[in-house]
């Protein structure tokens, strides 16, 4: 592949929330800025921009990752999922989101999209995740409102519900 000059924009193709996306970006464009400013998906929040706060967490190829620590060029060919992909339709929340609402898992909501994306991976991979595993995943996120207790309760409730759902479907 030829060297991509800094002064021009260059194409990048990837899958975003199940749809093929093709955009032109500067090399220095971060995935977080691409999502928010170019594509217009502002659900992904940007807090610290150096990987500490976790607000910008999205899923890249099924794994939780910091959008602010990822160059847009680094997701070529990847499958990116953002918080916008969680609810089945605009009128309905996903079981995890509904549990956050029920258990007051958010107040100002700034950190919530990142936390949802981390917990969504955890609960899909480990439907019987316990309190410790949930806490382990939350260490990668800062929340200044809730004190985390209600987030953990919400996650445990969502895990419960997802397990029940699985049983009914089985």
């Amino acid at each position: 592949m030829p060297r991509m000059n800094a002064t021009r924009r260059h194409p990048v193709n990837f899958t975003l929330n199940g749809r093929a996306v093709s955009v032109e970006v500067e090399n220095r464009m971060l995935l977080s800025d691409l999502l928010r400013h170019e594509i217009g998906l502002t659900g992904t929040h940007v807090g610290c921009e150096h990987g500490v706060c976790g607000a910008c967490t999205v899923q890249i190829d099924g794994r939780p990752a910091r959008a602010c620590l990822t160059l847009a060029q680094q997701v070529r060919g990847s499958d990116v999922r953002t918080v916008e992909a969680l609810s089945p339709n605009p009128a309905e929340l996903s079981p995890l989101q509904a549990a956050f609402r029920r258990h007051h898992g958010l107040q100002c909501g700034f950190c919530t999209p990142g936390i949802l994306m981390s917990l969504d991976t955890l609960l899909r991979e480990t439907p019987d995740a316990d309190r410790d595993e949930i806490r382990e995943h939350l260490t990668g996120h800062l929340c200044r409102c809730t004190g985390y207790a209600s987030i953990i309760e919400a996650a445990l409730a969502a895990a419960d519900e997802l397990r029940k759902e699985e049983k009914t479907n089985a």
């Binding site: 990987g51 976790g54 260490t139 990668g140």
Partner: protein
């Protein structure tokens, strides 16, 4: 906090990557997972003219076992080594260390070799490599060399990497039966960089204690087999031999204190595991 502009190259072959690095000189940097480099770019502490993305080089994305050595290629993500099926058997120290390296959300992207190249003095992977007596394979356009991990780290975020070179792989000695391993860390929050981290190995040759977060690079000390009455003096000597400094996270005195307590605990645990 946005990176300054740079040229970007995503080569299909290692030769192409090495040629670009050699041409680019000090202005060219390798990017793999980006979990150390992108924060530096965002804060403009690093302003390279060229980034060479090596993640499409399949040959670098392997974990290989040959004889007594586990080789981890430059494209292997931390999460890939963390979930490698033989980790607990062949690299038990790393199995204990992984939960302490950043967070799930950074291990998913960050590479093992990237952390070695970044050479943060409090980082867990450089500490583990030095404590186990591992090696770093460096590759330049025309030359190839292998450096002992202990010689690779030369100072605060400084390594023996020469202009135009990149890390091709790092090599961890495989755990031998009858050896014991232990790891302990103290930080402000789980997942933060360590204030002090200690790793210990006990085998028939004696004890090795690695310490991160105190000096300007991970340091390792060899000790003869010690009986209980000799432990405290030996560790106290080590604590004072390190170049501990005050910073806003902790005082030099607190760091020496942590070396004493964590050092003692890890050495004891490694010795117990051996027995």
């Amino acid at each position: 906090m946005k990176p300054a502009s740079f040229d970007f190259l995503c080569p299909d072959t290692l030769e192409e990557a090495l040629a670009a690095l050699s041409q680019g000189g000090p202005e060219a940097r390798v990017i793999a997972g980006g979990q150390s480099l992108v924060p530096m770019l965002n804060m403009r502490l690093a302003r390279p003219a060229l980034l060479v993305d090596i993640m499409r080089l399949e040959a670098l994305r392997r974990i290989e076992t040959s004889g007594d050595e586990i080789s981890v290629g430059a494209g292997v993500r931390q999460a890939e080594l963390e979930t490698w099926t033989s980790l607990g058997r062949d690299l038990p120290l790393l199995a204990a260390v992984f939960p302490w390296i950043g967070h799930v959300q950074t291990r998913s992207r960050g590479t093992v070799c990237g952390s070695i190249a970044h050479a943060d003095p409090s980082a867990e992977l450089p500490l583990s490599l030095v404590t186990l007596g591992g090696w770093v394979s460096l590759r330049g356009h025309k030359q190839k060399r292998r450096v002992k991990a202990d010689d690779f780290f030369i100072g605060m975020m400084a390594t023996d990497l020469a202009e135009g070179e990149m890390i091709e792989a790092v090599h961890f000695p495989r755990a031998r039966p009858g050896s014991g391993y232990a790891f302990r860390e103290v930080g402000r929050r789980h997942g933060d960089f360590a204030i002090v981290a200690c790793a210990a190995v006990a085998d028939e040759r004696g004890l090795r204690l690695g310490i991160a977060g105190v000096d300007d690079r991970p340091r390792v000390f060899s000790l003869p087999p010690l009986d209980d009455s000799q432990f405290d003096d030996a560790i106290n000597d080590i604590a004072w031999s390190l170049n501990a400094r005050d910073d806003f996270h902790a005082s030099a005195r607190y760091r020496r204190d942590l070396v004493r307590s964590l050092g003692r605990e890890t050495l004891k645990e490694a010795s117990r595991c051996r027995a």
